[in-house]
Symmetry: none
Subunit: 255 residues, 2 copies
């Protein structure tokens, strides 16, 4: 497994009622590369429903640490963030998930860090929140703001993973062809070919070709063509110029 | 409810097996302020387990649109993003959730936008993926990369909400056509026209049309065509089918 700095992170579930949620949290954690699960007085654990919802993450359930108090679960942690669904009577430093994840990943370079998730219905008590350095709040629909505890864990651990990947210098995915991109020179040849072929075909008004050519440039420029795509387009143009029955595109059979 | 530009977004679930997942997706959507759920041939729906997992989001289940095909679910959409858990044999433009959310929120200002989620075990088929402009990939643990469909929906709709909230203030510049984007239905007509015309012209090998058609879909999907561009491309195809001397493209003179 790639090491991206998530080893020092743990998720702490406080008084979870439904064992299915514990399993779903384990799955969410493992999907995001976290492995340490602490359970503060779970109502039912171990439980078949936890294992079932964990799918392939039952190793996290097997190694979960069950403790009697939140204090025990976070005693060795240098940073503690508590998930909070709503604003509190007590005002406490509250971060958005992205901001919180960056702080946690920073701190995890030098020590243990905990993300604390509260009870399904009532969340964390004020006394528990006060043990946290920060609260983290997912910006939900104000008319329906209470996320399922596993869904909230999924969002928060996702942000942790994204922050860790960014920190580790992992490139995020974007459009990347399996062939080299066309050069500007190849693109100019393509546009010249379009202009010649469309003029021959009578599609382009030779007295005013610019409007259409500008639209084609804009379209294909946006698409960021690779070399094989340029070859395909030019093959189509050549075939159309000959009135059809041109050679079939060899390129598509080479792959 | 605060209007932040999520009204044009829909989530499409393809062939979902477990009704509990449909309910959990509805809850995730409502938490993030989305309301339009489309179900392509769900195995069991309606179902008590869907309602139970939906918690307070059963209004989304009641208004869910059940359809027979993905085509129906996305026909009126101007941008379609498909969730993908793994890298494919075919390379398709793939975005990280954050980047994809920004594109989708941009597009949702002027038209309908779909996020397509595949089957629990097997995801989306290649034919289904090819109907998407982009794939979106959650950067999961490579040793255990398959998120539960509701968990994945939670992450992706969270990013949509964050992007919408960020956008709600300022207007940033990205690709914005002066014409409406083409709908998925119009794009399917374009691809059918390509296939017919290139077969007639002898450019497409009728025994193995898929390679080339897939490359064309990928190219034009990436470019995110507007309606006038579709008209231009179809005009070129029609002219080529006639062996040239077709009517000049009226469109370019109307502007």
């Amino acid at each position: 497994m790639m090491t991206i700095g998530l080893e020092n992170l743990r998720v702490v579930l406080v008084n979870t009622s439904h064992p299915g949620n514990i399993g779903a949290v384990a799955r969410a954690m493992k999907n995001m590369g976290l492995s340490q699960l602490y359970l503060v007085q779970p109502l039912k654990f171990p439980h078949a429903e936890a294992s079932s919802r964990a799918a392939g993450a039952d190793d996290l359930l097997a190694s979960a640490v069950v403790v009697d108090s939140l204090d025990e679960a976070i005693a060795d942690c240098q940073l503690v963030a508590g998930a909070s669904a709503r604003s509190r009577t007590i005002s406490w430093p509250t971060l958005a998930p992205r901001e919180c994840a960056e702080q946690m990943i920073d701190a995890a370079r030098t020590g243990k860090v905990a993300l604390v998730m509260g009870r399904e219905r009532t969340g964390l008590s004020n006394a528990e929140l006060e043990k946290c350095h920060y609260l983290v709040h997912i910006p939900a629909n104000s008319d329906y703001s209470s996320l399922n505890v596993a869904a909230a864990t999924q969002v928060l651990t996702y942000e942790l993973r994204v922050a860790a990947l960014a920190r580790a210098g992992e490139a995020t995915k974007t459009w990347k062809s399996d062939h080299p991109f066309a050069t500007a020179g190849e693109l100019e040849q393509l546009y010249a070919h379009f202009e010649t072929a469309l003029t021959e075909l009578g599609f382009l008004d030779p007295d005013n070709p610019k409007q259409l050519m500008r639209r084609l440039r804009r379209l294909f420029g946006r698409a960021h063509l690779d070399r094989i795509e340029v070859n395909i387009l030019r093959g189509i143009l050549t075939t159309a110029q000959k009135g059809g029955k041109g050679p079939r595109n060899k390129v598509t059979r080479d792959e």
